[in-house]
Each structure stands twice: as C-alpha cells, then as structure tokens.
Symmetry: C2
Subunit: 152 residues, 2 copies
DNA sequence: TATTGTTATACTCTATAACTATA
DNA sequence: TATAGTTATAGAGTATAACAATA
C-alpha cells in the first residue's frame, strides 16, 4: 500500500518526458529522411494498421478534421495514400495506404536507429516487462470494472 | 542469447508509438489549458531544469535556432521567460523562466491527468522497473565500450 | 574565420468558422 | 437536424539562407 500516492511519480514523469522526447526526435529525423514531416509520418503510421475515414483519422491523430484535408492532400499528391468513397455512406471518404506509402512507413521505422539500438539492449524477458508496463500505463487496459465483478 | 535480433522489437515499437501518442496528446491538452502550444510547453519544461542559451535550447528541442527566436519572443511577451545577456560572451543570450513560467510548467504537469492516473496504477517496485528499462533504452547508457574494457 | 542570435521567406501545421452534400 | 468533408482564414511552428555583432 503506497502511503504517498504520486511520490515516485515526478521522477517517472521526467523520465517519460525525456524518453518519449528521444523517441519523437528519432521518429522526426527518420521521417525527414523520407522527405516527410512528423505529422505526415504519423498519419502514414496510423494508416498502416488499416484504411480509415477522414474523420476517424483526425480523431486518432487528435487534431481537427480540417487539418486532415491538407495533410492527406499533400500525401495523395505524392501517391503515398489514396482517397476512396465509402460504399455505404456517400459522405465519407476512406483513406488507404498505397504500396509506396507502405514502403515509406517501413523506411521510417527502419530509420529509427537510435530507438532500435536501445531496444536491442533488452533481452526478450525485459521486452515483455516493458511492454506490459507500457500497456498498463498508457493503453488504459480496459480499466472498466466488469459489471458485477468483485470489489474486494 | 536472442537468436532473432529484432523479433520482439516490432511490437515494442508499436507500443512505444501508441504510448507516445497518448503522452503527447495528454501534454498538448494540458498545455492548451494554459493557453500554450505544445512547443511552448516543451520549451518551458526544458527551461525548468535551468537557464539555457538560445542555441543550446534549440539543440535540446531538436529544432533550428531560427525557430527559437519566435518561440521565445512569444513566451517573453507573456512574461513566462526572460532573456538575459551572458556575462562571459556578449553574443549569447540566456533564457530563464520567470515565476509565472514556473507556475505554468507545474500547471501543465499537474494537468496531465491521464498519464498521471496511468502511473498511479503502478506500485513502487513497478515504477522502479519501468524507470530502469526506460533509462536503458533511451538514456543511451554511456553505451561506448570503455577503452580497454572486456569483451567476453 | 567561426559562432550567436536575428531577420526574411516559404511551407506546413493547427484551430475556428462557414459552406456543401449527404444522411 | 445532424454529420462528413472541404474551404477560407489567421496564428504558430519549421527549415533555409543571409545578415550583424562578437569571438
């Protein structure tokens, strides 16, 4: 039972700030090597998981829907993504990655050498532990208490 | 001995990407609550560790020196930072946080409720483990092999 | 000569508001 | 009426190139 909630939190917040800052810097440099901005790279990364409507994309990227138009415009001009009208709702447009877009995402990931090198220093067990902790802290692990579940 | 280097790396990279997105989103919202952009908030956070010359600040924030002029201009206009000529080199200007600037940084950190809540789910032991792993992966643990060090 | 900070420029990102075409 | 995507606009971030002051 931690007596002082938030006691060791300050140090971890600082460490997260530095760590994720390093990750973000690495990502930005790798994206720039492909001639892409961080936002463009992030957009492509999200689309790597599958097609998405403009609105959903904006929600995922936590930006206003009006931004997506410009970002997707520029990516489409470079043939990295493609807009496609939804078959079920004529208002929505789905965005999908082209083959070139997939290649770009992979190139960015492969170009994150600092981060990759850092991860290589961990063995499989450590990776599992880190993954588990990150999931608990950030993935908000279906935190809702199951209806009717026990509350000791 | 990991037979397949990079095997479990993909999943971790994906997880880091999601974690960073969550952290950064939380930070951006908390900064916006103070009327600050993410870049401004990041700049203030860096200055929380101590004063810094314009050039050093740009290096830390991984952006061009010319950007800092505008960012610091806007922060200074709001009395969150102050420029001060260096006593030792008349070319350099040191930037320091004002009392209001310190308050703003603290408010941002306190406003990152999602991240703080996530960290609260960890007990002290877990926090130590996470901190240790992050340091190993990102802090670039003086990776250079000590000259003359053993290479088993 | 090299470096620090700044300016000028151009492009991208970002949110707000208003518009259109659907639903 | 409500929603998806777009446009217009304005402010902020970003890199490049050029500059003055200083080292």
């Amino acid at each position: 039972m931690p007596e002082t909630p938030g006691a060791g939190t300050d140090r971890l917040m600082e460490l997260l700030s530095v760590s994720l800052g390093a990750y973000y810097g690495d990502f930005t440099v790798a994206a720039a090597a492909e001639g892409l901005t961080a936002s463009q790279g992030k957009t492509l990364s999200v689309l790597r998981r599958g097609p998405s409507a403009m609105r959903a994309l904006a929600t995922t990227l936590a930006c206003d829907a009006s931004n997506m138009t410009g970002i997707i415009d520029r990516l489409e001009k470079r043939s990295l993504v493609r807009r496609e009208p939804s078959p079920v709702d004529r208002r929505v447009k789905n965005v999908l990655l082209t083959a070139d877009g997939e290649r770009a995402v992979d190139a960015i990931r492969a170009g994150m050498r600092t981060t990759l090198a850092g991860l290589e220093t961990l063995d499989d067990a450590d990776r599992d532990v880190l993954a588990g902790l990150l999931e608990r802290v950030f993935a908000v692990p279906d935190a809702e208490p199951v209806t009717g579940g026990r509350t000791p």
